[in-house]
């Protein structure tokens, strides 16, 4: 039935002017998804042109192209067309030749945007001309400048109505082309917590552990060997007062969460409206690895929290002002014998010589350090 109507309609109006046919053709094309590219054949198949009259079709397309309502393209050496929206056509009409050229390149760059310099090269116009055209287009709110994450210093343009693609924005970690620190921080904190909860067993999970571990702590004093290791052990931070004991899972444990597992979890968490892809999650996980907070399990590619970091998280040391706190967190492994000593962080170590003006004898950094 529908088909019949479609075919019938033009026939019933066979006497109507070419303008009507032309308008009908445009309307029909515009009703299809934007960006559809029509070959001559496609257009004839739409059934708008009576008797598939090629001559008539060409006349119509020519006119439409002239009015800026169709855009002539070539694909594989053949002519084809794309619909231009009425508003856009309006824009083109109001533009100078240079402006419309520039506009068309910006338009064809789509959601990726186009770099100022590329505009100049492609259009073959002089820099100032391009500059003026761009300015005028921007003023009329036809195009906009965007920031790309990869090349923040390049002037890049895109049609005003478009949203930059992820390649341009740099994915979920960027807002307006700049890195969103806070977002990265929030997401990685959540991720870390998630992994921490799956990396270690708490002694309370093994009910009989307590009596046993108490026994251990008494034993070591009996034999000679232990004094050596005991001393070592006692120097570790884990002997601090707020020490939470965590037990390792047995070897061969396959339950450490994998990238896809973590991705699914974070997306289900409603932490952020952004849906993370696995590749993006991997980026975040890499960062936690480089920060020394989690490690990749050798065998199944799962992730496991580094013990020190896990303890820190469980102790709640990671407050909301994580940025400030991070420097002193144990997970960072920030203590070094070298930087403990005054010379290890001395700004004038380069000038410090035994008989020089700066020396260990009169050094104030040292005096302070010895006072502590």
């Amino acid at each position: 039935m529908l088909e019949k109507m479609d075919i019938d309609q033009p026939n019933s109006e066979s006497g109507s002017s070419r303008t009507e046919i032309k308008n009908a053709l445009y309307a029909r094309c515009a009703s299809l998804p934007a960006e559809t590219v029509f070959s001559q054949h496609d257009l004839l198949d739409l059934g708008v042109i009576p008797d598939k009259d090629i001559k008539l079709l060409l006349q119509c397309t020519q006119e439409l192209t002239r009015e800026g309502l169709l855009k002539l393209l070539t694909r594989d050496g053949r002519a084809c067309w794309r619909v231009v929206k009425k508003e856009d056509a309006q824009k083109y009409k109001s533009l100078t030749a240079e402006e419309s050229l520039v506009y068309s390149y910006v338009e064809s760059a789509g959601r990726e945007g186009i770099w100022n310099r590329m505009l100049r090269i492609r259009s073959g116009l002089h820099m100032t001309v391009v500059g003026e055209a761009v300015k005028s287009l921007e003023r009329r709110n036809y195009i906009k400048q965007i920031k790309t994450a990869k090349f923040p210093n390049r002037k890049t343009y895109m049609l005003a109505g478009l949203q930059p693609s992820e390649v341009v924005t740099g994915g979920p970690f960027y807002t307006d082309g700049t890195l969103d620190d806070e977002f990265v921080h929030q997401m990685s904190r959540w991720t870390e917590r998630y992994i921490v909860g799956r990396s270690w067993a708490k002694p309370s999970d093994n009910p009989h552990i307590h009596s046993n571990s108490k026994k251990t702590s008494k034993q070591p004093r009996t034999s000679k060997h232990q004094t050596e290791s005991e001393r070592l052990v006692s120097s570790l931070p884990s002997r601090n007062a707020n020490y939470i004991d965590l037990l390792p899972f047995p070897p061969g444990f396959t339950g450490y969460p994998s990238v896809s597992e973590i991705t699914r979890a974070i997306n289900a968490s409603n932490l952020s409206p952004v849906t993370m892809k696995e590749a993006e999650m991997k980026q975040l996980l890499d960062i936690l690895v480089w920060d020394g907070r989690i490690e990749e399990n050798l065998l199944n590619g799962g992730y496991k929290a580094v013990k020190k970091a896990a303890i820190a998280v469980m102790n709640g040391q990671r407050t909301n002002e994580g940025q400030i706190n991070e420097g002193t967190e144990p997970g960072d492994g920030g203590a070094s014998a070298l930087t403990e000593a005054p010379c290890g962080r001395c700004p004038v170590i380069g000038f410090c010589e035994e008989r020089g003006p700066v020396n260990a004898r009169s050094c104030e950094y040292f005096t302070d350090w010895l006072m502590i």
Binding site: F151, G170, F173, L179, W200, A201, N206, H208, N212, S213, K215, T216, Q219, K224, H225, S229, R231, V233, L236, D245, L246, P248, P250, P251, G252, F253, T254, G255, Q283, D286, I287, W290, D291, G292, E296, L298, L299, N300, K307, E326, G327, E329, D332, G333, G334, S336, A337, L338, T339, E340, A341, C343, G344, R345, I349, C352, E354, A360, C363, L370
Partner: protein, 703 residues
């Protein structure tokens, strides 16, 4: 050796031996090799003074000396390696105390004070009335020795004397220490520099004329020269036989562990054969008589380095896994100790064939560990130190099989395990030590663990088919569900060993059991040393520039250091805002933590806008830079210690007077006491820091 290392050496010598020797040492350290007259010229001391200083320094092996072919004047050269080690003496003595008790540590501190000492002389300091058997030898430097011992008579304090009952006891302590490699024999080569030793060895080792091929002859000769050098450094077998004629040789672990190596590994040149003749590799010397009095012993700092590294590894394991596991690791490393003579393993070969690589690593068998009493004692704690999980979440097969083993080996291991599970207790008695009760029980349950999670039920008595694989899904779990990997106490040990292998740091590599060989655990020291090094560098970076700098340096170090990254790439990877990152990179660069390469795109013009900047991490350069700074820091600390002491010198001297000692409270004024206490605290702080910096030097330089 660098300027700062030299400075540090001079400061250390000064602190211990006083102004005169340190001036002489200074002259040698900064001018290179000098003759006696050259020394006179450089120091402006009298010949008597110089001679005296030199003899002290030689006695302490702080100066090399060499007489070329016994013609011409002797030449002296500063031994910077040994002089640095003065900073480590305290650790040595402490270690001895921990392991062998007070007497041994006292003995060794005497050896350290004397530098090197004839066994006869050492015996006489404890038992002045003892007759020596045999004549005094005219071995090099023995005159220096007597000279020194006259000045610093070693008087064992009363306490210790009470503990020594017999000369036998003294000698057995010495032989124990020799066996553990913590004392070693001194050869005259020890007083010569490395270059001189090589020249000398090349001079004395004959070329084997019977070998026709020139190339082969040369190769054999080179090995012989190496062998000679090793013999000199660590003592030869022949020396050993003379030293302790009644020696009961226990089979050397070094050989024992590797006896069953496939022929391929044997081919690892005469490499290993070469090692087999030495004693310091760790022979257990059980002497039932006196040692030859004429041998001269010294402390062996190489061994201390190995032990220090083990301690750091154990600490790392404790920190990243837990105390129970690190206890197991400590015992394993200790068992492996005799297999290493140096930290930088000369046998290690990074090879594509993992079998070769494994063969060059020290290995310890599970059974050997099971026999260690302390671990037996700890077994209950070991089993409770592991978290419990659902049995379906354990896949051990992967751990054992993924260990880079070639296919052939892999297959045989698998069938071995299967066999064991069929034969049950029968397989256990062939290898397990009798010490362990319930051995067969535990063995079976080990296999249960395999079968439970991975293969059909154990009750299945069919002969294992080739196709059976650990990954076969579990269809009929027939045993009661186990929530912990450990089923019997003696199982626990192995679980912890596996756990050590199942870590990103890869503390151990499992070497599965074969038909002919026991299950063993290899220690990949080479990689572990690198991990320690990188950890140390990252720690310094973080404490200087904050955690984000740590992230950056880890990124740059991640891909085996060959990657050079530009800023854009770094921003993408690190997710640090560009400006902040740039500031960090530049400060890290200025401090020598990372390197920068500039590649101009416009040829020679080098306009800044047209230059690509690539950042990279050069571990060796960074290591050297950090080492320099550590030396410099240590130097300043020791200098400052001297300054602090000067400030309270009169009080200290007063406090040390014999009539004051013990009655400080009465005889010193309140102000004096306060000053004294304050100074003591400072001393402690300074020397404690020096000790920690020394640990860092060990990581940066020795491991």
């Amino acid at each position: 050796m660098s300027e700062y290392a030299t400075q540090l050496s001079v400061v250390l010598v000064n602190g211990i031996f006083g102004e005169l020797p340190s001036q002489v040492f200074h002259a040698l350290a900064f001018n290179g090799r000098l003759s006696f007259s050259g020394l006179l010229h450089h120091t402006h001391f009298s010949p008597v003074e110089v001679r005296h200083s030199i003899s002290v320094l030689i006695q302490q092996q702080l100066v090399y000396w060499y007489e070329p072919d016994n013609i011409g004047p002797a030449l002296y050269e500063a031994n910077l390696e040994n002089s640095y080690l003065l900073a480590r003496s305290g650790k040595y003595i402490q270690l001895l105390k921990d392991r062998f008790g007070d007497f041994a540590s006292e003995l060794v501190s005497n050896v350290i004070i004397l530098g090197h000492v004839r066994i006869g002389d050492l015996t006489r300091t404890y038992f002045p009335s003892i007759d020596e058997r045999g004549p005094l030898s005219e071995i090099v430097a023995s005159d220096h020795l007597s000279q020194l011992s006259d000045e610093h008579p070693v008087k064992p304090n009363g306490d210790t004397e009470k503990h020594v009952h017999t000369v036998d006891e003294l000698h057995s302590t010495i032989s124990n220490l020799l066996g553990a490699g913590l004392l070693c024999l001194v050869h005259e080569s020890y007083f010569r520099s490395a270059a001189d030793n090589i020249a000398e060895a090349e001079h004395v080792v004959p070329r084997d004329g019977s070998i026709k091929s020139k190339k082969q002859q040369e190769a054999t000769w080179e090995l012989d020269v190496q062998q000679k050098l090793e013999d000199w450094r660590y003592g030869s077998k022949a020396d050993m036989n003379t030293l302790a004629p009644n020696l009961q040789r226990t089979k050397r672990t070094f050989d024992g562990e590797h006896d069953e190596l496939p022929t391929k590994k044997r081919k690892l040149a005469g490499l290993r054969a070469k090692g087999s003749d030495q004693i310091a590799g760790g022979q257990e010397i059980a002497s039932s008589g006196w040692l030859d009095q004429d041998f001269i012993v010294r402390v062996n700092h190489e061994k201390l380095k190995i032990i220090m590294r083990n301690q750091q590894l154990v600490a790392l394991a404790e920190e990243s896994i837990g105390t129970a596991t690190s206890t197991v690791y400590a015992e394993l490393l200790r068992t492996a100790e005799p297999q290493l003579r140096k930290c930088k393993n000369e046998l290690y070969i990074a090879d594509d064939d993992p079998e070769i690589e494994l063969a060059t690593l020290p290995q310890v068998s599970t059974d050997k560990l099971k026999a260690i009493k302390k671990l037996l004692h700890d077994l209950p704690d070991l089993s409770s130190a592991l978290g419990k999980v659902d049995p379906s979440e354990i896949d051990l097969g992967r751990l054992l099989h993924k260990s880079k083993k070639p296919k052939k080996r892999r297959k045989s291991v698998q069938s071995d395990a299967d066999e064991a599970s069929v034969e049950g207790s029968a397989s256990s008695d062939e290898s397990e030590s009798e010490n362990i009760a319930n051995e067969s029980e535990s063995d079976r349950s080990t296999n249960d663990r395999y079968s439970n999670s991975n293969s059909p039920s154990r009750g299945d008595n069919d002969h294992p088919s080739e196709g059976r694989n650990y990954k076969t899904p579990d269809t009929t779990p027939d045993t009661t569900p186990k929530t912990n990997g450990v089923t019997s106490p003696s199982d626990a040990l192995r679980q912890h060993l596996l756990l050590l292998s199942d870590q990103p740091q890869r503390f151990l590599i499992p070497v599965p059991r074969t038909k002919t060989d026991l299950e063993k655990w290899a220690v990949p020291y080479h990689d572990l040393s690198r991990t320690l090094l990188q950890n140390a560098i990252v720690s310094i970076t973080i404490s200087r520039f904050g955690p984000l700098a740590g992230r950056l340096i880890r990124i740059l170090a991640a891909n085996d250091n060959s990657t050079k990254l530009d800023e854009k790439m770094l921003v993408l990877l690190s997710l640090i805002p560009q400006k902040q990152m740039r500031t960090l990179l530049h400060s890290m660069h200025r401090a020598g933590h990372i390197e920068l390469q500039e590649i101009p795109k416009d040829g020679s013009q080098r306009r800044p806008g047209m230059t690509l900047f690539y950042w990279f991490f050069d571990p060796d350069r960074c290591r050297k830079k950090m080492l320099e700074e550590t030396y410099k820091t240590m130097t300043r600390l020791v200098q400052r210690a001297r300054v602090e002491r000067e400030g309270v010198r009169s009080t200290v001297e007063k406090a040390e007077r014999t009539d004051v000692v013990g009655r400080e409270e009465e005889l010193l004024g309140e102000g004096e006491l306060m000053a004294l206490n304050e100074w003591k605290e400072k001393e402690e702080r300074i020397w404690g820091e020096v000790g920690r910096l020394d640990e860092l030097v060990a990581v940066l330089r020795d491991f």
